[in-house]
């Protein structure tokens, strides 16, 4: 089986601009959440994009462009692609796409009439705008499309990207997820669904958790066929060892309460990696801080990993940045990759009160070294979305 490696990563998140900024600040226990929102406050479009680039891209696409520039620079791709451009794909996930553009143009339509609606409205709001923009920006001429699976989209994108390389359809893929949905309609709609935290605190797995805190941002990864990456002398950051995906086929928003679909995806990710629960050193949980998810996910981890579940550190990036929806799976995969590199389990911030039945090792509040007994550490990164979509990545540190 063709191995797929990661050679570049980039991120824009509520903890700042840069993949390492995200990881280092999370590891140090810093939170990017203020006033109940995870805004990418340090992102300033003018620092990264020209006037034209910025006005031609919704905020979610801008995040993907900036994360993409970072990832391609790290991969050594900034000046020239190392592969035939028709063999390089671009797969980017999003939950909602350019909803800020949609809402703005709806305001214009209502207040000023149809003739004032911008000709840029469609190209900015469409959910495939980010892969479109990245393909043009980097001249990627292979498979290119968006992945839409709500809060699992970022992980589905990476899994799909790895599958394209393994199937022989691409030598490399620029992939990830992006979201910028901190808009009035989106916030009101999630609040109406009773999904958002009233307290404005993201504390996954804690007994007091009361919903998720919405965040925004993106992460982009460069994936390559391992043999080809080695042949060109690339620096390898991690290996995408396995990928599992499933559907709960149960309820449009609620997870199956026993975590059956999620456990199936976790098992499939391990099986496709050729690994067993004994090989897993860390789980980066979906851990949304909603009452339902964290309970069902805990059950899913136990179901899939058996006795091993209680011995593995399990933490949630959302405790530090909130829920980045369609970007979450990609942002969390990037954070997981850096945690594996450093052999560290980053913390679940704010975790204090134990709830009966939620009894895994959630790494409360302080990062801790992973116990790997000298082998290359392996992690699972979970992402689950409304619609019953489950996507799980199995990641391994580089040699």
């Amino acid at each position: 089986m063709t191995q797929v490696v990661v050679t570049g990563i980039g991120a824009v998140t509520p903890l700042g601009v840069g993949a390492r900024t995200l990881y280092e600040r999370w590891l140090a226990g810093r939170s990017g959440i203020e006033d109940g929102e995870g805004v990418a406050r340090e992102y300033e479009p003018k620092e990264h994009l020209s006037v034209k680039e910025a006005r031609r891209a919704d905020r979610f696409t801008q995040f993907a462009m900036v994360a993409g520039d970072e990832a391609l620079a790290e991969a050594g791709w900034s000046d020239e692609l190392p592969y035939d451009s028709t063999r390089v794909a671009c797969i980017i996930g999003t939950g909602i796409g350019g909803i800020g553009t949609l809402e703005h143009n709806h305001d214009v339509l209502r207040d000023s009439g149809p003739k004032k609606v911008s000709p840029l409205a469609v190209p900015l709001m469409m959910s495939n705008a980010a892969p479109g923009a990245l393909s043009m920006r980097y001249k990627l001429r292979g498979h290119s499309y968006g992945i839409v699976s709500a809060c699992a989209a970022g992980a589905h994108a990476i899994g799909t990207a790895a599958s394209l390389i393994q199937s022989g359809a691409a030598d490399a893929v620029v992939t990830g997820g992006s979201e910028a949905a901190l808009t009035p309609l989106s916030k009101a709609a999630f609040a109406a669904l009773d999904a958002l935290s009233d307290s404005g605190i993201s504390r996954p797995f804690d007994a007091r958790r009361d919903g998720f805190v919405m965040g925004e941002g993106a992460a982009v990864l460069v994936l390559e066929d391992a043999e080809k990456a080695k042949a060109r002398g690339a620096t390898i950051i991690a290996t995408v060892k396995g990928y599992g995906a499933s559907s709960d086929a149960h309820h449009i928003t609620a997870p199956q309460s026993e975590g059956l679909g999620a456990a199936q995806a976790i098992g499939q990710a391990l099986e496709s990696a050729g690994l067993t629960p004994a090989d897993v050193d860390y789980v980066n949980a979906h851990g949304t801080s909603t009452p339902l998810n964290d309970r069902a996910e805990t059950k899913a981890i136990k179901l899939a990993l058996g006795d091993r579940a209680g011995q593995i550190p399990v933490s949630s990036t959302k405790s530090a940045i909130g829920h980045l929806l369609g970007a979450a799976g990609a942002v969390e995969a990037v954070a997981t990759i850096l945690a594996l590199r450093d052999r560290m389990a980053p913390p679940t911030l704010g975790y204090e009160e134990v709830e009966e039945g939620l009894d895994l090792d959630y790494v409360p509040n302080t990062a801790r070294p992973l116990e790997t007994n000298g082998h290359l550490p392996v992690a699972l990164s979970n992402a689950f979305g409304f619609g019953g979509h489950n996507a799980v990545l199995c990641l391994e540190a580089a040699e």
Partner: protein, 83 residues
Amino acid sequence: MAEKTITPEAVETTVREALAQFGPEPEEITLDATFEQLDVDSLDLAELSQIIEDEYGVKLKGEDVGKIKTVGDAVDLVVNRAG
């Protein structure tokens, strides 16, 4: 909204101000500058047409806009349509 009276000077100002929002530096926007030089594409011209219609009440046809190559061509198209 009251529409502006079309004069070459007024239209030139409108076109320059619109194009400057799209990305080119104001000093680059001369009457003989081409849209290719300014990196102004069909979507920019669709926005420009919308601004022209809004300010002067002149609706530019897509096929006419598709033929113009320079900033001066855009000004002439609007002025001639009015005449």
